[in-house]
Structure formats: C-alpha cells, structure tokens
C-alpha cells in the first residue's frame, strides 16, 4: 500500500486579521498593499520603545457568540467563514465528519492576563478565564461550536503552528484517519507576547518591512482556516475546489531557542522536504509566501535560504504579507496559507510593503534572480505551484505546497510495521509535603547524560523533564544521533498544560512591573514547543518536530502523530513523548478548577518512547518491546457540547473498535487495558463500565495513576510505555492503552508482541 496516493484539496477559506474581516477583504487589502498596522489600542505601551501592532477591530462578541478567550473567538470566526465557503452548515451530516486542527502560540493569553490581574488585586480569579487559558481547549471548543464530530488537535509550535496544522490535516487524510478537516491557526494580540518580543528588542519601532529595514517585527492577531478535504469526498459532495495541497515539510534547526541558524540549513532542509514530499523540483515553484518577519536574524538567514534553494529557478516570486498583517504568531502560517491559495488561484501575488525608491534599489541588488515583489502586486497567469513557509522559536520549520496541477503526486514509502524500540521514563514520586507526585532531578541527574550547567540553566521545569526522558529513551534504544541519522529522526510531544508555570510567572511579573519590564530570559520558555526545541538542540535531532496540546490523551496522540510521520517516510525514527509538570502554579490552578481531591492526586513526569520502522530497527539490530498494531483517535459531539469535560461512551468505544479492526483482532484477543482512570469515582466508573461492555468481566484494567498521580499527558505516555514493557516481558501478547482529552476526544493504541 502506498501512503501518499490520496489527493488533498482546499475547498473552503476563512480569514480574519487586521487587514479584513473575511478572506475577500483581506486579499483585496493585501493586493492593494493596505497595512493593518497602527498604534496599539489593547493595552498601554507608553513606557515601551515600540507602540505598533496589527489588531483586529472586532470585539469578542462580534467574533463569536458565547464566552470564549479571544484566540478561540478568532478561530471560531475564521472557521465559520471557511465552512460556509465550503458549503457546509453547522449541525449537518458533513459537519459531523469534520476534524479540527488548529495552531496557536500564545493560546488563552488574554484570559491569563485577566485572571492574574484579578488575583493581583486579591480577588478570586474567574474560573471561566482559568478554563480558557490553555491551548488544550481551542480546537475542541471550535469543533463543538459548529458540531464538527471529527478528531481535534492543537498544534503549539509557536510561529510555525498554523503551517504545521495544515500539514497534519493532509497526513491524517492520507493516513485514512479522516476525510475533511478545518485546519489553520489563531492567536490574539497579547501583552505577554508584546512584552516578550519587546524584552528581546525584536519589535520594530515603526511598521515592520521584512527583507528591507529589518529592524524587528510588528505583532498582529487573527485567524486563518482552510477546509482540507480528500478529493473523492469533495467531488462526491459537489464541492468547489480551489486547488490541491500537495505536501509538506517539517524540520528542526537544532541550534538556538529563538534565533534561526545563520547558515539557513534548517530552513533549506524544510524547503527541500516540502518540495520532495510534493513530488516537485525546486524549479517548479512559482511563488513563495515567505516567513519574512522583519528581524535582522530571520531576514538574513531566510534570504540566504531562498537564494540558495532556488538558485536554478529563474521565475520564483517572493513576498512577505506580514508587512500588512503583522506577525500573527501561531495564526501566521494559516493566514499566509489562505493568502497563498488566493494568490495561486487568482494569479495575483501580494507584495511586501514599505519600500522607498532607495530601498527598491538595494533590494534589486541583493535579490539576484528572485523576483521579490515590493509595494505593488504581481499578476502572473503562469503560477502553478506556490509554497508557504514558517520558521519558529525552538528552531521549528514548516512548509506547505499548494498546486493547480494535481498530476505530480508523489508516491512515497511502502507501508512498514512500526515498533517501540526504546523507553525513557521520568516519573514522579509522592511528595508528602505537597501531596503531589513529583520527579526528583538535579544537576547531577543531567550531568550523567552530558548536559552542562550552561545549557540546563536555560530550561524551565517542563523542558528539563522532557530532556530527561528524551535522553533516557535514546540511551535505552542504543541510538547515538550523528551526521548520518540526524535528519531521519523526529520528535513529537504531547502536553496538557505546557509551560503554564512560565506563562503565569511571566504574566504576573509584567502585571507587577509593567509591560516594558518583561524578561528576555524567561520569555522563550513561555512557548509550548520550547521543550521540544531544547531536546532537538541538545541531541542534534534535525527532523520532524511537533508539539500537540490536547488534554490528557496528548501523550497518546503524540504517538499516533509520530507513527504517521514514519508511515509517510518523513523519518525512520520518532521520539514520541507525553510531558506535564507539577509546580505550585499547576497545583493552584487544578485546585481552583476543583479537579484535585476526592481521590485525584496531581503528578508530573515525562515519558518518551522511541517509535521505529521495521527496516531501521532491523538494520540497527534494535531491541523491540512491542509492535504498534493499531492507533486511532475519535470524538463525539452528543450530549452537552458546552461542557468540554464531558465523557463519551460512543467515542471511547469507537477508538477501541478502530484499533481492534486495524490490528485484525477481536475483543477476546486483548488481555489488558492500560486505562486513564485517576481516582475520580465518576471517571473510573465510566471507564470500567465501557470496558465491561466491550470486553466482558474478565478484562484486566491497569490504572497507573494510583502509583504516579495524575500526570496528565505524561500518564498517557506512561500507560503506553508500561504496556510495551509488559508485552516485552512476556506477560501477555496484546494490550491497549487508552486516554481521554477535552471535548470528548479519545486516543488508543494497540500493542502486540514483536
């Protein structure tokens, strides 16, 4: 079976940002070079050296009905337009099949600020703000809003998140895990991001003009959503088709947490990957919507990457629309993907704005054969292939390719069996003082793995936990990362709450001291993918790199995504992790949410499993714990959709049925379930009841949270790791690990004897 043989097409577009409240208005503004950048209105910047921003002039109430964080509200607005454009109404049969994959960088930052402003005044924080803070809830809330019943994921790879979301939607369709997705990204304008980039001296004091003055970025806000659909599904329902989306590339710099590699290697790698995965040559690309932020470091390395990659291409046009939309972080790649689809299909390429006559002369000299579009749009009837690139903190790079021509479909790799070949566990022990399960680690723990103090001191607790399980897993698998294998290994991390401690502490500090006093040292660790970035930097892993924040089950969904990345031939080996921390901040938040007590004890940890394809494991003579025989995620929108912590027997049953079917096994073949019960009577009883119906009374259900606490995504990964170890130890032949997420999303993996 060839995995990349399904055509994926774009059938709907939705866009909201500072240059318009829908796709048409935004595209018209972009072609006219109309900028959305103005003085910041959302908060006081009088003590800052920059006062510029690209805010959306719509209130939350104008964006979405009901109470949502602004990031989610922006996502709801763009998703609604995309669905309407695709001819699908909420609550319809087609909507029930739609999955939602959204990228975000700063998640519920507006609610984080509101909550901690209240707390700073000695008031009780509003629990609705608390619930809306984490990235974990965004995609589920958007899916529930329109009654979309497909699976969800929040991709949290900072400024590459929007592009990665579209890339993941293609993979899920080609992997047979769905037919139609809303894919994109959303992020609001926030004091947190403004303060952070201000601290890094990365804001332009004027309107940004990428590849020109390169004095910094201008932050923006918005959302872009694309309907990504299998060609067969689109044709069957008579959908309008904009274009094909051919393929994607994802890579890691393995260099620095905020700065791109000056030699552009990671960027060139991702461009090469996207072109190869799309079955194209460098000379095929007609238009590139560049990352083009306006910082000197980005613009210099990106210019070098583009000139080097397209040295033999005499017809590629390039522009950065951030000069008008601002840098919308996790939404940026999605906004630019929508503009790229419009540019491709209408043969009108938007410009980069802000060039004087003198600037244009300089640009001409440095751009060589690249047709760099400045100030005025370019009409090109011959445009067939267009690329959109995003490069993020953590050294995460992502690229996607859209095409008018579907004929060059790339047939990638033959299907191979996947094995667990390494396990690294950093699990908590009961700390009686705090009544939580915490991981004991210090400088000496890391020194034994060659981690120097100079590196370790930069890492927040979440990143340290992730690094520890990652290096343990590599050691257990007997893998040394070197020049031969560095770009055939990738990383996929799942987390429920990400670096919430760093986010909360940063926000509290700027509430106390002022936006202009944010810490340049602390800010990089407020992004969810910092942990994956540090793991890549320390180990030298340069392949695929994605972080998913999607409730407890993220620790299993990361393994599903890792399996996908190998199946599509992106990598031979993936490190798949689940990681969550337990600090004073987490304890306070979970206590305030009322989720602890009554049997539930909070925990932390990180578990990394090495997932490897058969041929690679055979070549290395790797130890094989178990074989992945099936993986699935499923959701359900029945019941009270306003309650995103609802349980669903339908979805839980469905993921188990799916993995049994994929493995060609029956319920009676399964000896053991590693479940997600955490001591809460409601959750534990629900779970046991569903298993009883499927497997009968005799099934053994192991609940590891009794021993390690509710470590959220880390618990889900630990369930999987323990199952693999049991099978390897010969305790039984077949078992399933299952976990639950927000908005009734469940994931399951079936492991069998290797």
């Amino acid at each position: 079976m060839l995995m990349n043989e399904r055509r994926c097409v774009i059938t709907g577009l939705g866009l909201v940002c500072a240059i318009g409240s829908d796709t048409e208005e935004c595209f018209e503004s972009a072609l006219k070079g109309r900028s959305g950048i103005a003085d910041v209105k959302g908060f006081d910047t009088s003590n800052c050296y920059s006062h510029k921003g690209a805010e959306v002039p719509l209130t939350n109430e104008q964006l979405a009905k009901g109470r949502y964080d602004r990031t989610t509200a922006l996502g709801i607005k763009a998703a609604g337009e995309a669905m309407a454009d695709a001819g699908i109404s909420a609550d319809s049969e087609d909507a029930a099949k739609i999955g939602v994959i959204l990228g975000s960088c700063i998640a519920g930052a507006a609610c984080v600020e509101k909550y901690y402003v209240q707390k700073s005044k000695g008031e009780k924080g509003d629990i609705e703000d608390l619930k809306a803070m984490p990235a974990t809830v965004i995609a589920g809330n958007v899916a529930d809003y329109y009654n979309c019943g497909g699976i969800t994921a929040n991709i949290v790879n900072a400024c590459a998140a929007g592009t990665l979301s579209v890339a993941m939607a293609i993979d899920l369709i080609r992997g047979g895990k769905g037919e139609i997705f809303l894919a994109g990204g959303c992020d609001s304008f926030s004091s947190l991001a403004f303060s952070g980039f201000h601290a890094l001296r990365a804001l332009d004091s004027n309107d940004c003009s990428p590849f020109n003055h390169s004095q910094g970025i201008t932050l923006g806000e918005g959302a872009g959503v694309l309907v990504v659909e299998s060609y067969e599904h689109a044709v069957a329902r008579g959908a309008k088709i904009y274009c094909d989306v051919l393929g994607s590339g994802v890579s890691s710099d393995a260099y620095h947490i905020t700065a791109p590699r000056p030699d552009g290697e990671g960027q060139m790698s991702v461009i090469r990957r996207a072109i190869k995965n799309s079955g194209l040559d460098f000379t095929d690309i007609d238009y590139v919507n560049a990352h083009g932020t306006g910082t000197a470091k980005n613009d210099e390395s990106e210019f070098l990457s583009l000139r080097t990659s397209f040295a033999d291409n005499d017809h590629v046009s390039v522009s950065s629309t951030k000069s008008m939309t601002g840098h919308c972080l996790g939404a940026a790649g999605a906004i630019e993907a929508v503009l790229t689809v419009k540019a491709l299909t209408e043969c009108k390429l938007p410009p980069t704005t802000g060039y004087s006559d003198e600037d244009l002369k300089v640009l001409k000299e440095k751009s060589g054969d690249i047709d760099f579009i400045a100030n005025t749009p370019r009409e090109r009837a011959d445009v067939k292939y267009a690329m959109s690139n995003s490069f993020a903190f953590g050294g995460n790079n992502a690229s996607i390719v859209f095409a008018k021509d579907p004929n060059k479909l790339n047939l990638l790799c033959p299907k191979q069996d996947l094995y667990v070949t390494g396990i690294g566990i950093a699990a908590g022990e009961l700390d009686e003082a705090t009544n939580t399960y915490t991981v004991k680690m210090d400088g000496d723990t890391f020194k034994s793995y060659g981690v120097k103090t100079a590196f370790l001191r930069k890492l927040d607790r979440l990143s340290q936990l992730q690094l520890l399980s990652g290096v343990k897993a590599l050691e257990d698998a007997g893998i040394t990362v070197n020049g031969e294998n560095e770009d055939k290994i990738g990383i996929c991390i799942g987390t429920t709450d990400g670096p919430m401690t760093e986010i909360a502490n940063f926000q509290k500090e700027i509430i106390r001291e002022g936006i202009e006093k944010g810490s340049a040292f602390a800010f990089p660790n407020t992004v969810y993918n910092a942990a994956g970035g540090y793991l890549s930097i320390f180990t030298g892993i340069k392949g695929y790199n994605v972080t998913i924040a999607n409730g407890f089950q993220s620790g299993l969904q990361s393994i599903c995504a890792a399996a996908g990345a190998i199946m599509f031939g992106y990598e031979n080996i993936m490190l798949a992790s689940g990681t969550d921390e337990c600090t004073d901040i987490d304890i306070d938040l979970y206590n305030d949410l009322g989720l602890t007590g009554e049997g539930v004890t909070l925990g932390e940890g990180s578990v990394t499993c090495v997932i490897e394809k058969d041929s690679s494991a055979a070549e290395r003579g790797a130890k094989r714990y178990a074989k992945i025989a099936g993986f699935s995620s499923a959701r359900d929108t029945s019941g009270d959709r306003l309650n995103n912590s609802r349980l669903s027997e339908t979805a839980l049953t469905k993921v188990i049925e799916n993995v049994l079917e994929e493995a060609g096994l029956k319920a009676e073949d399964i000896s053991c379930i590693y479940g997600f019960g955490n001591g809460s009577t409601k959750l534990d009883d629900f779970e046991k009841e569903v298993y009883k119906k499927i497997f009968g009374d005799g099934i053994e259900v192991k609940l590891i949270k009794k021993e390690f606490g509710e470590a959220r995504a880390a618990s889900a990964s630990l369930q999987f790791a323990k199952l693999a170890q049991d099978i390897h130890d010969g305790k039984f032949e077949n078992g399933i690990a299952v976990s639950c997420g927000t908005s009734a999303l469940y994931s399951a993996l079936l492991l069998t004897k290797a």
Binding site: T453, A454, A520, F521, P524
Partner: protein
C-alpha cells in the same frame, strides 16, 4: 573592585539567569565555555543592571570586554554610577 556592587551583580545573575551560585566566581568568563551566556542573556544583564544601579550600560557605551566577567561589569558600573 567594589565588593558590594560585585555581590549585587552576582545575585542578579544567579536570580535572573539561573546560574548556580557555586559555579560563579567574580572572574568567571561569562560568555565563555564555563558559564555559556548568549545574546539573550546579555539583554537580561543590561536590564538587570539598569534596575539595580540605574546605569544604562548599553547607552553608556559598554563593549564586549565590559561584559567579560563580574569584575569587568563591576568596574563599568562603578565608573558610570554617578553619571
């Protein structure tokens, strides 16, 4: 060298940049192999010193050499503190 200033700078480096106090001497090479600071850390040092002593060290023309160690930073702060 003014020990009072040096100790305050050391405390700031330990707190803001999470450098272990027992690995940080007054003459340690801050941007060398030992401590391994980078450009983000240098921004943090500038802000930290401004908060502590009211000295804008980048505005006052500090060079790379002035950032070499706690000793050199102390000397720079001492020379510009009254300005």
């Amino acid at each position: 060298m003014n020990n009072e200033i040096a100790e305050k700078i050391k405390g700031m480096l330990v707190e803001r940049l999470r450098i272990p106090a027992d690995e940080l001497e007054y003459d340690s090479e801050l941007f060398g192999e030992d401590i391994g600071l980078d450009s983000i850390d240098s921004i943090e040092i500038i802000v930290g010193i401004e908060n502590l002593f009211g000295v804008d060290i980048s505005g006052a023309g500090a060079t790379r050499e002035d950032f070499r160690s706690i000793e050199t930073l102390t000397a720079f702060v001492e020379a510009h503190k009254e300005d």
